[in-house]
């Protein structure tokens, strides 16, 4: 058992603006824990989490792999989230390297075929397109869930870059919900980017039917 990261340094005031770990976070932690052994054997050097929020997931990954064994890069559009990620790294003795950025934008040039573990628990909730666009601009709490008409507005952009980012042995874990159309995501990633995928975990939590997909070359 790998303990859930200590988040006791974060307060209500933080969670007014930054996503508080919830079922979707925990389903990703559980998927990573199940794969812990195989993740260690690929000896990851570069891990990148998109939308790290509180930093809970990357801190957990750091506990699996060891703080000094890999570089943990974490992006988020929300500057408060990058601050929380930083503190969560400190609190859990994992060096997390937050970058205030959208998706992997400033990293794509240098990380071509280099990311060994890529993680994204995206804003996946179906909303009006306008709502998702505003949420992306606002870069506050609503940006953590508002995903546009099929909940894929933000995720789709990253999916187009994954094939370029992943290293030959790389793993990409994505959280999704049923409305995102999982079979279509899988089909597209295979046909457009040649990436294989499987559903590594699924769980019902309240109204949400959550999935964790894993993609490899």
């Amino acid at each position: 058992m790998i303990p859930t990261p200590d988040l006791s340094h974060l307060t209500r005031a933080d969670y007014d603006h930054v996503y508080e770990p919830a079922e979707d976070t925990f389903v990703l932690l559980d998927a990573l824990e199940e794969d812990a052994q195989s993740l260690r054997t690929i000896q990851p050097r570069i891990c990148l989490e998109i939308g790290s929020g509180s930093g809970c997931v990357s801190a957990f990954l750091g506990a699996i792999l060891g703080s000094s064994s890999a570089l943990y890069l974490c992006t988020d559009i929300n500057s408060r989230a990058t601050r929380c990620t930083f503190l969560t790294g400190q609190q859990n003795k994992v060096s997390l390297n937050p970058i205030n950025a959208s998706l992997a934008q400033p990293l794509v040039k240098r990380l071509a075929n280099s990311v060994d573990i890529l993680l994204f628990n995206p804003p996946y909730v179906p909303t009006y397109e306008e709502e998702a666009i505003d949420a992306q601009h606002g870069a506050d709490l609503s940006g953590s869930w508002a995903g546009g008409s099929d909940g894929m507005r933000v995720t789709d952009i990253l999916l187009g870059q994954v094939g370029n980012l992943l290293s030959p042995k790389g793993h990409f874990y994505l959280v999704a919900v049923k409305q995102n159309n999982i079979p279509e995501i899988q089909r597209l990633m295979q046909s457009e980017h040649g990436l294989r995928s499987q559903i590594v975990l699924q769980r019902r939590a309240g109204r949400e039917h959550l999935f964790v997909l894993k993609f490899t070359r």
């Binding site: 000094s68 064994s69 930083f86 205030n100 934008q105 400033p106 990293l107």
Partner: protein
Amino acid sequence: MVRLITHNLLACHVKGCTSNNFPLKLQDVQIALREAEFNEDFLRGFIPRLEWGALVQAAREVGDDSLPAEVPEMLDDEFLKQLHHVLLEIHIDEGSMVCPNCKHVYPISSGIPNMLLAEHEIG
């Protein structure tokens, strides 16, 4: 925290700025040295992913000129210790990173780089 290992992976991504957009030039930096755990396997595994010239240049910009101009053929202990220090122990807490091509300024504040762009700058 912005350490030189992260700096080595960041490029300017302003719309249309696609060449000579790396490495970002470090300016007006406030540096802190913080010890990090030495991990030889990590360093050896990471060397192929580094842009060496950019690292040497960035280290000079923050006042460290201990690295050789080329990666030595023999990665001995002394070299790895030095590399460890430069990559992982020099923290840029405040300052800015400037694109050598379009001169866009990316600020670093409280150890976090702001790489966000305004709508009209996004490619």
